[in-house]
Amino acid sequence: MKLAVMSCIHGNYEALNAVLSDIDAQKADQIYCLGDLVGYGPYPNAVVEMIRSLDIPTCQGCWDEDIVEGLNACDCSYPSQLAEKRGHLAHEWTNQAIHPEVREYLASLPMTLREGNLCFVHGSPNSQHEYLLPTMDGFAALERVLAAEADVLFCGHTHIPYLRELENGTLSVKVQQPGQSETHREFTAPLKRIINAGSVGEPRHGRPNATYVLYDTDSTQVTLREVPYDYEKTCAAIIEQGLPPIFAWRLARGMEFAERAEDAGHVCER
């Protein structure tokens, strides 16, 4: 079976349409979405309506959660004061723009989705706010997949797609307790994978194209897809709808609008 997994659409309706067409052309059997349907982009309601109308199983992203609760994104995700101000503006705009039934829908989304040995989350199995960066410690990455009780962990949140394969992980633990002899345990992990689906609507890999991933459950082949689309339309809409115009400039260059995935070690207190 061929799965298409997308994430972080962020109200970018043009990009979503282009990705859905590409998924169609690639003849995927099932689509999954890893959240962050809204936030930063000009058409949050339209994006949610599209996802709902196609019945795409979706898990809740950090922006979806923030909009439901009326909170701002964890301040630690903003690399600068300027980014923080822009993020807050985007938040207020989105809060105003969202229809009540859309808010309800976002509130109903689950934290994780499962299919067999596959697990789907927005950030990590622990939190929607935790970034699983490709550079994080291999054993810590392995722990995340094991904690998800899966062989393949799909995630988003960083907005740059990647495939990470973790092979032959072995650990030994020797335990000494007072008055007892030492015990020894060995642990070996089978092949585990983390697949990051990138971002449909706010790419951060230096190009404005949307990204998503294809996964074949039979062959276990992974394809990272990059889909060009008419991003200028989204840029125009950003400006027209009253979002910070700088987002349009940044979208055209594939740069983050405000939040940046940096610290893998930080786990948000929230």
Partner: protein, 247 residues
Amino acid sequence: MANWAILSGIEGNLLAYEAVLADIRRQRQPVTDLYILGDLVGLRGDSEAVVRRVRSPQRGESIPQVCTGWWEEQCFSLHGLRGLPDAPELVERYGLGAVKDLWEAVSRETVQWLADLDFGFHELDCLLIHGSTVSYSDELTPETPPITLCDRLIRADANTLFCGRSGLAFEGRVEPGALRSTVTTLDQTAAPQEQGKSPRRVVGVGNVGRAGGAPSYVLYNPGTDQVQFRCVQSSPARGFGAARSKK
């Protein structure tokens, strides 16, 4: 030469704490630093007396460096300072009656003092904390899966993690073996990387005051990197002795 004494789980047992302090005084190599990793207070014994004693070290005693633990977090929850209201974890473990008992055992003023304490300490290449950086209720034991111990050490960003949630005294040496990691991005496939890692360890520091055992704690020498487990013979007047004083 530095010599640390690290303990946890006093849980209101003043006699046991005094016994540990006496044991510390008897050490040939003087103890230079004293760490208390949470759970000073509890349902039994005299929490107020323990806190008073901790706050007033006598001449010759190190000033204790104290961080919060599970019992302190239950107090914060009851008093609306942190976390979920009405201490659901406390109720789940000890029943509804525990709410009233804990409310009476620890005064508001003491709770305020406890609320200002750190969550843990990063010293040299060690992390000293009640549970782990995941949470105060993260219980690490000799049975904890190796990958979880390894993960907690990575999160701790330290070579040694001293913790006290389980109340057990143990030293778990985690030796990561091999791991091959290959990352593929849109633009490239990076060459596989072998992840070797230096061995690290998790040390359960035992507990001072829980019922049913002799007080235990840990001595650590940062110079030699040696951990020593201490078990103190309790005094003939066991348990909680004096009646709990009420405010």
